[in-house]
């Protein structure tokens, strides 16, 4: 048993508020879970011992003078800021788009509480250990509600900031009302030593549309375990983009449930890893109802001694006839010490469906490299161009152009830091 987990359970017992009923239920389940080790299927490749080795102190209510939000050019956005897991009104945007209500857990009205109690921890499945920890310890969170039929054009930026040595747990619960439309980005960018769990639950009602981004750009010793969980009702649409850099521990669990018919989900994931970083993504698509469509594209580049773990599961339930589901995972390995572990899974119980998945792991295409070099591009530049092109195909699919431009500049910096030179060089030079 981990001392950190034991400690978290003790702390969880003391949390008392209007969500207590939910928290106690989670605590009960948490007590039955064991601390992951190499034999735990969901954590087979990702060690969590680093959590026990770090010394983190729970967040306190203070304002960090260094806290600042990354400015993004030409972006129409309202920022909502979490500082060390607590919603910080001082740093957040005061004016909100019309038809959107944003309330912190502490200030929820009776009606909001009733709705939140029904949804909290119901979109997110119980099997995620850190999700349960978050259920218990996320003392502050946001309820975001979009009124039916409202088309929100302003992007909501949920910015997460962390001070050094802090342990933080944050939560958001979002409802996109019938026929409404919302775009939201969750941002994590720190590299200071810290530990956070951050889970988001989204209910997308009939005919509603959600454009979602999660930028899990933490690096270094910023330990992060989080999740995004989506429930899609009839004719709803989800377009979700996840970008991950790795840190000593960076893990994201994604669940997309087709709870209604004719729902459509597109999920694009990009990861770029360097140094000794780890990025671990577990994604599960549940097709519970007929006529759903899912397209999932996962691509990444792994350099130096980094390790990526991808587990992509598609589960077609008995009744989910006429489902179309596709999952694609492509990896570029840039170094002899880097590691890719991928497992695309299909679990299918309905016959009239079309499902496929594919996974590849390789290095850069030598022919493409040769082609560029033969046209006078230096080997180094050619490698960067090809690597960038590989990733950029998915960045291009982001509906928000301003965000895509900002992301490309981030990726550019990342590429410059990474050892993009491919292992073939060793052969060429020797």
């Amino acid at each position: 048993m981990s001392t950190w987990l034991a400690n978290a359970i003790v702390r969880g017992t003391d949390v008392s508020d209007w969500l207590s009923e939910k928290r106690q239920a989670a605590l009960g389940k948490l007590k039955q879970q064991s601390w992951p080790n190499r034999k735990t299927e969901a954590w087979k490749y990702t060690p969590v011992s680093v959590i026990d080795r770090g010394a983190f102190s729970p967040a306190v209510n203070d304002v960090d003078a260094n806290a600042a939000i990354d400015a993004i050019d030409n972006l129409d956005a309202s920022a909502l800021v979490f500082l060390n897991g607590r919603y910080c009104e001082a740093l957040s945007c005061k004016t909100l788009p019309e038809g959107v209500s944003i309330t912190s857990f502490h200030n929820a009205s009776a009606a909001q509480k009733e709705w939140a109690l029904a949804q909290f921890a119901s979109v997110k499945p119980d099997r995620h250990l850190f999700g349960l920890i978050n259920d218990v310890l996320a003392e502050d969170g946001l309820l975001i509600d979009v009124e039916p039929g409202v088309q929100v054009t302003t992007l909501l930026r949920v910015v997460n900031l962390f001070s050094e040595g802090i342990e933080a747990h944050s939560r958001i619960l979002v409802r996109v009302g019938k026929g409404a439309k919302l775009a939201i980005a969750e941002e994590f960018t720190n590299s200071t030593p810290s530990l956070n769990t951050s889970f988001a639950e989204y209910v997308i009602e009939d005919n509603a549309e959600l454009e979602h981004y999660r930028f899990a750009l933490q690096t270094g010793s910023a330990l992060s375990v989080g999740g995004g969980h989506f429930k899609l009702h009839d004719h709803s649409k989800l377009h979700s983009t996840l970008v991950g850099f790795g840190s000593q521990l960076s893990r994201v669990d994604v669940d997309i449930e087709h709870a209604g018919q004719h729902a459509y989900a597109e999920k694009n994931v990009v990861y770029l890893l360097d140094g000794k970083e780890i990025f671990d993504l577990h994604s599960t698509i549940e097709h519970a109802k007929p006529n759903g469509t899912t397209e999932e594209n996962v691509r990444g580049i792994v350099a130096d001694q980094a390790k990526v773990v991808f587990n992509g599961r598609i589960h077609i339930h008995r009744d989910a006839q006429k489902t179309l589901a596709e999952l694609n995972n492509r990896n570029l390995l840039l170094s002899r010490k880097a590691e890719v572990n991928t497992k695309p899974e299909l679990e299918i119980y309905a016959d009239d469906v079309r499902c496929a998945h594919g996974a590849t792991v390789a290095e850069l295409d030598t022919k493409a490299l040769y082609y560029l070099q033969s046209r006078g591009v230096s080997r180094q530049d050619a490698q960067i161009m090809l690597n960038f092109g590989f990733i950029n195909e998915l960045v291009d699919r982001m509906p928000n152009e301003a965000l895509a431009t900002w992301l490309r500049s981030k990726l550019k910096v990342r590429f410059a830091q990474m050892k993009v030179s491919s292992p073939q060089d060793a052969l060429v030079n020797s």
């Binding site: 390995l333 890719v340 299918i348 016959d351 594919g358 792991v361 390789a362």
Partner: protein, 478 residues
């Protein structure tokens, strides 16, 4: 399960083992004493007994694996009898009239000659069936080439050095729960040794050793192909076998030394249980081969039987330029469950592996592909291609794919593809429009779906495998 075992046990007792029970069939239960007795029965040397006991002690510490996508009732390992002597002639059916007509109907369709039918159904035919002479001819021919092909219990006595060197070298005692159990209690199986540079003059088959059948539920096979040799081994039988055992925990070990090649083909059609999922064999098998430099191991399997299958024929590509192949057709129907696939562990440079898996699910069955492709840091220039296709027939079955891909070498290329679909309406329409009935059409489409695998089978096996599939699919359409 326990009920089934109880029933089976009760039946054996009913059969009236009065005075012979001590020597012929052990009472249910497993402890060190039982292993001492199995070993003594086989008159084994002390090293073999020690080896078994070590396995048994390891097994006691192990837990039954639960990760497979199969569901079966708890097995009480203490309620199974671990040694049963071959049935005496008087216990066997006297003629085909006493054999289950359903079984006979299948034989008929497969076109199996009457004498063979009798043999397969376990009819007491030794006086009639003239296979002994056939067997002897084959034996002589093999001896001429220097090939050793004998029961493993015989090999323990005749070739102790070879057995000592290779037994457990690919699947060690502590490998997994079922393998450990097999190591402790295996009663018999085949041993094959192909000397240096020899190309085995014929395809070896357990069929030829059928007079020494009833090797029990814990079968052990060890095949060693010495440098530059070649062998093709066929296991199993295309016809369903009458078998009273519920649990089969077999182990197969292949060793392909430098430049050697082993081709191992299986057609498995054990009793799958009835439509309601009652009865049937639990087939928990560990099969693995190791390839040295330039060696090649090719697994081909057609799995249509057993109530529960748990089987992952694997290759350890240890030597540079070695090749591993896995071709599989797994068909499940009724309430059958199959969790099968392969592991390709690439250690050497320029190693290559190909995985082609075709799963067909019908009725209320579940069919899973579970595989692992691992590129170790030393697997420079290695290559893997995996293709898993599943076909669903009916809306009450399941098809699942669980492939693990682990790559730690950038110059290694791994490709995995999987698709799942049903028999397309267009294809059905086309066939029916040309006068085929629905059943024939499905059978034809399924046969086409499996073609890539069937073409890897030895010719006569391929023909029967096709027929077998057809029979298995009967009644699953419409």
């Amino acid at each position: 399960m326990t009920e089934q075992i109880d029933k089976a046990l009760a039946r054996e007792y009913e059969a009236g083992f009065v005075s012979e029970i001590e020597s012929d069939t052990f009472p249910p239960g497993l402890d060190e004493d039982v292993i001492h007795r199995i070993s003594a029965m086989k008159n084994e040397p002390p090293w073999m007994l020690e080896w078994r006991l070590k396995a048994f002690r390891l097994w006691q510490e192990m837990e039954e694996p639960e990760w497979a996508h199969v569901d079966y009732p708890y097995i009480d390992y203490q309620s199974i009898s671990y040694y049963s002597a071959p049935k005496s002639m008087k216990d066997k059916p006297k003629s085909l009239d006493e054999v289950d007509p359903e079984l006979l109907r299948t034989y008929e369709k497969l076109g199996i000659p009457l004498v063979e039918q009798q043999m397969l159904a376990g009819v007491a035919v030794d006086a009639v069936f003239d296979s002994v002479s056939v067997v002897t001819t084959f034996r002589e021919k093999l001896e001429e080439a220097g090939v050793i092909f004998c029961p493993i219990s015989e090999a323990v006595h005749k070739y102790p050095e070879l057995v000592k060197k290779y037994l457990g070298s690919v699947v060690p005692q502590k490998d997994n729960f079922f393998a450990a159990l097999n190591c402790a209690v295996f009663t018999d199986g085949s041993f094959v040794y192909i000397p240096k540079g020899v190309r085995c003059p014929m395809e070896l088959s357990t069929y030829f050793r059928i007079n020494e059948q009833n090797t029990g539920q814990f079968e052990r096979t060890l095949i060693v192909a010495d440098e530059g040799s070649h062998v093709s081994y066929l296991e199993g039988c295309t016809a369903p076998q009458r078998d009273e055992n519920q649990l089969h925990a077999a182990v197969v070990e292949l060793v392909a030394l430098d430049d050697a090649e082993i081709k191992y083909s299986t057609v498995q059609n054990w009793y799958p249980g009835d439509e309601e999922g009652r009865g049937g064999i639990y087939n928990f098998v560990t099969k693995r081969g190791v390839c040295h430099t330039n060696a090649k191991i090719s697994w081909t399997q057609v799995e249509t039987g057993s109530a529960v299958t748990w089987k992952y024929p694997s290759c350890i590509l240890k030597g540079d330029n070695s090749v591993g192949e896995f071709y599989s057709v797994a068909l499940t129907r009724g309430k059958q469950q199959a969790d099968t696939g392969t592991k390709m562990i690439h250690l050497g440079k320029n190693t290559k592996s190909t995985i082609i898996s075709k799963g067909i699910s019908a009725g209320r069955s579940n069919n899973s592909y579970r595989g692992l492709v691992r590129m170790n840091p030393g697997a420079e220039g290695a290559r893997n291609f995996t293709q898993c296709d599943s076909l669903l027939i009916g809306d009450q079955c399941g098809a699942h794919t669980f492939p693990y891909v682990e790559s730690r070498n950038p110059s290694a290329i791994v490709e995995h593809e999987a698709t799942t679909s049903k028999v397309s309406d267009d294809q059905m329409f086309l066939c029916q429009q040309r006068g085929l009935d629905a059943e024939k059409a499905v059978s034809m489409i399924v046969n086409g779906f499996c073609k890539e695998v069937f073409k890897e089978l030895p010719m006569e096996f391929a023909v029967e495998a096709g027929k077998l599939l057809e029979i298995s699919l009967e009644g699953s359409v419409g």
